[in-house]
């Protein structure tokens, strides 16, 4: 078909004149390891991979160009769809960048709730990653078991924001509505149910001798190479480097809570799996420190020119009506300048770079997405290994196609 001819011709320089017995295989965009749409062209010598090349761009949805059309609150719907397994983390990253650019302080109540939802989203993301790694290696029951708990977290997020997956959590200046009265109680129940479930998952999959022998020592990368490629997040911590944006450049209240950073040794599939597993326990620890002491107060900062007023007042009072009109029609006023802010998403350092000219929409929005930087090293990680191991490596890297192609 025309498309594959184009793909093959692009690599003429690299895969030309194959030695005797070597085979060029296309692990096409739609493949059983349902990790999104990634294509790999590999040159095989029997079962060993000699060279590989990654092709991306199959889900390019033009977010950076959309950022120049939408205003600062509307771009939240785009951030939803980037890393679609842990959506509130992207939303919070964008909102924090805009708030720092405008130099707004939000009340503590908002910060506590944002941190709790962040850590719950991190747990959601790691559940999917570990579950799918099990499925790719043939162990289906771990994922079925953990999905029940993921649905419980979805229920909490749906009660808070109104949607399961495309949450558009937070607005510039606070949250769109206050938390419901049973929020703290339900979060505590979910945490109580998650700890024994994680222990069970450990026994099922991670302490399993077959799993350990299957994943130990494959797909590794050294710490210097990882830093040269721009790795961050659990993939970097599995190589032994303890960078974490929450501890290095703290934001929200991460310098006031107690948590550890798990670190691996050789960056192999097993170590990445263990690091993510331990991170889930640390997230539970953070949630337990915060959930009992959510302070009272308002759920947004005092910003009549940027935060939509209460709907009842809009219908009855003149001033709120005018503010409402101005905010909807003319957008939120952001001072001209640039800002880069990084937060720790589930995959690594997620950064937003906004260039603003003082108008309704930004002049340029750039998303520094972690998957893009560490997927570059994939051909190097699978060279010399078996074909089946490359599937496990791709699974353990946790590449989300929506984030990769932005």
């Amino acid at each position: 078909m025309a498309m594959y001819e184009k793909t093959a011709s692009r690599f003429k320089g690299k895969f030309d004149n194959l030695p005797e017995g070597h085979l060029l295989v296309n692990l096409g965009p739609s493949h059983p390891a349902t990790h999104g749409i990634l294509q790999n062209v590999v040159q095989l010598d029997g079962e060993r991979i000699v060279e590989a090349e990654a092709i991306i761009g199959y889900v390019h949805r033009c977010f950076e160009k959309l950022g120049e059309r939408y205003d600062y609150n509307q771009f939240l719907v785009c951030t939803d769809r980037m890393n679609y397994v842990s959506t509130p983390l992207n939303n919070i990253g964008w909102i924090l960048t805009v708030e720092h650019l405008m130099q707004i302080e939000v009340p503590d109540r908002v910060t506590y709730v944002r941190m709790i939802i962040s850590e719950l989203s991190r747990i959601m993301d790691h559940i999917i990653c570990q579950g799918i790694l099990g499925v790719d290696l043939g162990a289906f029951s771990g994922m079925l078991h953990m999905f029940h708990h993921r649905e419980n977290i979805y229920t909490i997020i749906e009660k808070l924001t109104g949607a399961r997956l495309t949450t558009t959590f937070c607005r510039v200046g606070g949250m769109e509505r206050d938390i419901y009265p049973e929020f703290a109680k339900e979060v505590k129940m979910v945490v109580k149910g998650l700890r024994p479930a994680l222990d069970e998952f450990n026994d099922l999959l991670i302490r399993n001798k077959i799993f350990n022998e299957r994943t130990d020592g494959i797909g590794g990368i050294s710490a210097e190479d990882a830093l040269a490629y721009g790795f961050s997040g659990p993939n970097l911590r599995a190589t032994g480097v303890d960078h974490d944006v929450r501890k290095d450049t703290p934001y929200m209240l991460y310098d006031k809570v107690d948590f550890d950073i798990p670190v691996g040794e050789d960056g192999s599939v097993l170590h990445r799996c263990l690091v993510r597993n331990e991170e889930m326990y640390q997230s539970l620890r953070i949630i337990e420190q915060l959930v009992d002491s959510i302070p009272e107060g308002k759920y947004h900062a005092n910003l009549p020119h940027a935060f939509l007023p209460d709907k009842q007042k809009v219908y009855s009072s003149m001033e709120e009506l005018i503010y409402h009109f101005k905010i909807i029609m003319h957008g939120v006023k952001v001072p001209p300048g640039e800002y880069y802010m990084a937060t720790e998403a589930a995959n690594g350092e997620l950064g937003f770079y906004i260039v603003s000219e003082g108008e309704k929409s930004p002049w340029r929005v750039h998303v520094r997405r972690p998957c893009f930087w560490y997927y570059q090293a994939f051909p190097q990680m699978v060279k010399g290994g078996l074909l089946a191991d490359s599937i496990a490596t791709m699974s353990s890297l946790n590449v989300i196609a929506g984030e990769l192609d932005c």
Binding site: R10, G57, Y229, Y340, G351, F372
Partner: protein, 169 residues
């Protein structure tokens, strides 16, 4: 941090400084000439005191109508040793100019430079594989420029062989 970097640039690499201009940003910004980006980045990486050895981001901005020259390439460097502080190097370029690639200094600059070529049309010299990465191979134009509309010019040429379905299939 900003003063130390300024001292380093002014003493050893002053021939590469493009201009000094203050940008309202949370990260100290320096403007570098395009032929000097590789020595400057290398010096900042090797310096034992500053040690900016983590490439955090690589992107470009199109200032059509607002600034001359039209494009700016932004390199964001981070120094884990010095409390993870960041600096930004900007390289102003005009359309059609080539920029030396920093793949020899940072391996991770490979794909971001291809992405800039794909979306803006700026070529990098000495890059191992200067090809389109995110858009289809038969795409015409460079979308993130300001004179390219969001909806595209009528994109059906891209799947023109699919639009007629033969009944025998």
């Amino acid at each position: 941090m900003k003063e130390k970097v300024e001292t380093l640039l002014n003493t050893k690499l002053s021939k590469y400084i493009f201009k000094t201009e203050t940008v309202s940003s949370n990260i100290p910004t320096f403007f570098i000439k395009s032929e000097g980006i590789v020595p400057v980045v290398g010096a900042l990486k090797e310096d034992p005191d500053l040690k900016f050895d983590f490439l955090n981001d690589l992107t470009a901005i199109d200032w059509l109508g607002k600034k001359e020259p039209r494009f700016e390439i932004c390199y964001l460097l981070k120094s884990p040793k010095n409390k993870h502080s960041r600096i930004m190097l900007k390289v102003p370029v005009e359309e059609g100019e080539g920029i030396p690639s920093i793949v020899s200094v940072f391996k991770g600059a490979n794909w971001p430079e291809r992405e800039i070529f794909d979306l803006f049309g700026l070529e990098f010299i000495n890059h191992p594989m200067m090809d389109r990465i995110i858009l289809p191979d038969n795409f015409q134009g460079h979308p993130l420029r300001k004179d390219y509309p969001l909806e595209g010019f009528g994109q059906d040429y891209l799947i023109s062989d699919l639009l007629q379905i033969h009944k025998e299939d």
